[in-house]
């Protein structure tokens, strides 16, 4: 359990969170693979409601975002904030509470989704009792994180902490505002907002959950672990700070681009498109900063399989952050919206960026946490190629399916009638979905290899005790 010695980092919490994160990755990706199989063979829900696409799909997304993603962010946030502040975690018992309460929310929340409790708001499906629990645990997360920063022994607040901090503040704001609802029963509530307002609030939440959790949070991870990996300072610290503020300012406006051609004011849509395009600048500034940092440390690639994951994750980050603004254009969106291209876009980010940078970070962090070597570098290398192949195959399959759907749905004949029926188009997508299923299996297979590799690395060990190092007086907090 937590070490009360004030001169040691609290790394056992980090180790637990990493294990939970990998566990949820396997569970939620398996759910994803299963629902992708359901799109090929629709009868494999066997008439069970809890096995239906409608219930497993939110389990898949919530499990990945809140189980895998947030656990990884908490783990890496706790790990890096101690090391960049030169102090152990503030209120370690509260940190343990955050760790376990969060896992309980993901577990019970997942079961409630299977039972059919849902607000029907995408990525915010959990009902009001869970929303309240999430808000409480999230605020505790913030107390631990910002408390640690407040206690810091180093004067500057390193850039990764700005991103983790933005993650904590903005997600709290989005979650609380979007979840305001009137409870009717324990498992049912009605949103405080109605109609178009509800849609705008929901996508302000939905898009910024992508922005500040899946992008901002993971950028925090990148800014700490990439320079650590490479053994080099970040290429341009100034660029990283400029990118942070530009990112934070412009992201928050972009949500309504999910609602093109709907009953919300046109100026809101236009503004969201403009902001989406502006967003490309800070996103790519960060990508270039990462690539340039690693480019001077190429010799590390010889010995470090983890660095490959991070290098490639930056390429997919570049793709996803370009693809998004492009799909926000009304002339592209009219064809791409509601098609599987959107699913492909999300997964080029989720698999290519989020999962890969997390894998790279875990391969780096876990051996250091337990004071040993990675069990098998070879398995990690195989995992790398499986992750790349799975992601590419997934994205290609969904590009093909999405473009076909977009064209076929909108095709009209000479007298202006639709050329194809929705049902026929849906039925013709099976080959693409089959390909996607294979892609998912390859990616899940790679993740399972990592789980085994990390299990063997950790087995029988606990986190090594790391002493807080002395602070260089030039950077110390004067007290």
């Amino acid at each position: 359990m937590s070490n009360e010695n004030s001169n040691l980092y609290h790394d056992q919490i980090v180790l637990h969170l990493v294990q939970f994160s990998v566990f949820w990755a396997i569970v939620a990706m398996t759910a994803g693979v299963y629902i992708s199989a359901e799109l090929v063979w629709p009868t494999i829900d066997f008439g069970q409601f809890w096995l239906s696409f409608g219930r497993l799909r939110p389990l898949h997304t919530n499990g990945i975002i809140f189980g895998f993603g947030v656990s990884a962010l908490m783990a890496t946030g706790f790990y890096s904030v101690q090391r960049t502040s030169h102090v152990p975690l503030f209120m370690p018992r509260l940190a343990w509470f955050v760790c376990y309460a969060w896992q309980l929310i993901v577990l019970l929340g997942g079961l409630s989704l299977l039972a059919g409790w849902t607000t029907s708001k995408e990525y915010a499906e959990l009902e009001w009792p869970f929303d309240i629990a999430i808000a409480i645990v999230w605020v505790c997360f913030g107390v631990v994180f910002f408390g640690t920063i407040a206690n810091r022994k180093i004067r500057p607040i390193y850039i990764s902490n700005w991103f983790y901090g933005a993650l904590i503040i903005v997600i709290a704001m989005l979650h609380i505002v979007n979840s305001l609802a009137i409870p009717v029963t324990i498992g049912k509530s009605y949103s405080l907002y109605a109609g178009a307002q509800d849609a705008i609030v929901q996508w302000w939440y939905g898009h910024n959950a992508v922005g500040f959790l899946l992008t901002g949070g993971f950028l925090g991870m990148m800014y700490y672990f990439l320079p650590k990996h490479a053994g080099r300072p970040i290429w341009s610290y100034r660029l990283s700070v400029v990118a942070f503020w530009a990112f934070t300012y412009s992201y928050i406006w972009a949500g309504p681009h999910h609602l093109h051609y709907s009953a919300i004011p046109e100026w809101v849509l236009s503004l969201s498109v403009v902001m989406s395009v502006i967003l490309l600048a800070p996103s790519w500034a960060t990508m270039i900063n990462g690539i340039m940092t690693v480019s001077s440390a190429s010799e590390k690639l010889k010995t470090d399989p983890a660095l490959k994951f991070i290098v490639l994750s930056l390429a997919f980050y570049g793709l996803a952050t370009f693809e998004g603004p492009m799909m926000a254009f009304p002339s592209v969106n009219v064809v791409s919206h509601f098609t599987d291209w959107t699913i492909g876009h999300v997964h080029s980010g989720a698999l290519g960026w989020n999962a890969m940078i997390t894998y790279g970070t875990f391969y780096y962090m876990v051996p250091r946490l337990v004071g040993g070597e990675l069990y098998s570098v070879r398995l990690a290398n195989i995992h790398f190629w499986m992750a790349l192949a799975g992601t590419m195959l997934y994205v290609m399959a969904m590009w093909g399916a999405g473009v076909s759907q977009g064209l076929l749905w909108l095709s009209v004949d000479e007298i202006g009638e639709l050329s194809f029926s929705f049902k026929d188009i849906m039925a013709s997508m099976a080959p693409f979905y089959g390909l996607r299923l294979i892609a998912g299996l390859i990616f899940l297979g790679g993740t399972t290899l990592m789980a085994y590799n990390l299990y063997k690395t950790i087995a029988g060990k606990s986190a090594v005790k790391v002493q807080v190092p002395a602070v260089d007086p030039a950077f110390g907090v004067s007290s």
């Binding site: 990508m287 690539i291 340039m292 690693v294 480019s295 190429s298 010799e299 590390k300 690639l301 010889k302 490959k308 290098v311 490639l312 930056l314 390429a315 997919f316 570049g318 793709l319 370009f322 693809e323 492009m326 799909m327 254009f329 002339s331 592209v332 009219v334 064809v335 791409s336 291209w341 080029s348 192949a389 590419m392 195959l393 290609m396 399959a397 590009w399 093909g400 473009v403 076909s404 977009g406 064209l407 076929l408 909108l410 095709s411 009209v412 004949d413 202006g416 639709l418 050329s419 194809f420 026929d424 188009i425 013709s428 997508m429 080959p431 693409f432 390909l435």
Partner: protein, 204 residues
């Protein structure tokens, strides 16, 4: 060496790509020469195959009836396809040369044009699939071809540009980032053109 590199590139690079990269590392061909005597012959293949295929069979997007376009529109689409490919090759070569400075690689533009063409050659030949423009069949053929091309990119950069394989890995990954963006831009550009009325008849 310089005189026979073109004929070597055009034919042997398909089945002896690593040998071609080695040859390339010893010569500095002119960019225009590479373009006119090597690249262009590969770049015309996809538009021609696509034109023949679409004119004879129509685009099969999975649903029952194929989508047919008037010949004039098909010609326009194929011409656009060719222009985009030429632009894609040249911009990729320029970006590759720009990146070369970071990784200490050769800066001879002709070498970069040839390198990118060797990498893309399997895709150009694989575009034979366009003769039967069924999207799924095309994707099935393009995926293994693309894997081969990516392998060539990662293998070829360190050989042809004379850098360590680790630096080559970084540079190739950066180029993959650019190529992914280029591919998705092509999708977005096509959709914008369709929305504007160029290409298939859409009810938008």
């Amino acid at each position: 060496m310089v005189t026979n590199i073109y004929s070597f590139l055009l034919f042997k690079s398909l089945y002896q790509p690593l040998e071609a990269f080695k040859q390339l590392s010893q010569s500095e061909p002119s960019p225009l020469g590479v373009m006119l005597r090597y690249s262009i012959w590969l770049l015309v293949l996809p538009p021609i195959f696509s034109l023949i295929g679409a004119a004879n069979f129509g685009w099969r997007l999975g649903a029952a009836e194929p989508l047919r376009l008037p010949t004039q529109a098909l010609l326009l689409v194929s011409l656009g396809y060719f222009v985009v490919l030429v632009f894609g090759l040249f911009s990729t070569a320029l970006i590759s040369r720009w990146m070369a400075a970071t990784y200490g690689a050769s800066a001879a533009l002709g070498r970069h044009v040839a390198l990118i063409t060797i990498v893309g050659e399997p895709l150009a030949v694989g575009s034979l699939a366009h003769l039967y423009p069924d999207v799924f069949i095309n994707i099935l053929i393009i995926i293994p071809t693309m894997i081969w091309s990516m392998y060539l990119l990662y293998k070829g950069i360190p050989i042809a540009l004379g850098i360590t394989s680790e630096k080559g890995m970084l540079m190739a990954s950066s180029l993959v980032g650019w190529l992914l963006v280029a591919a998705v831009s092509l999708l977005g550009l096509s959709m914008t053109l369709w929305t504007l009325g160029v290409g298939p008849l859409l009810g938008v």
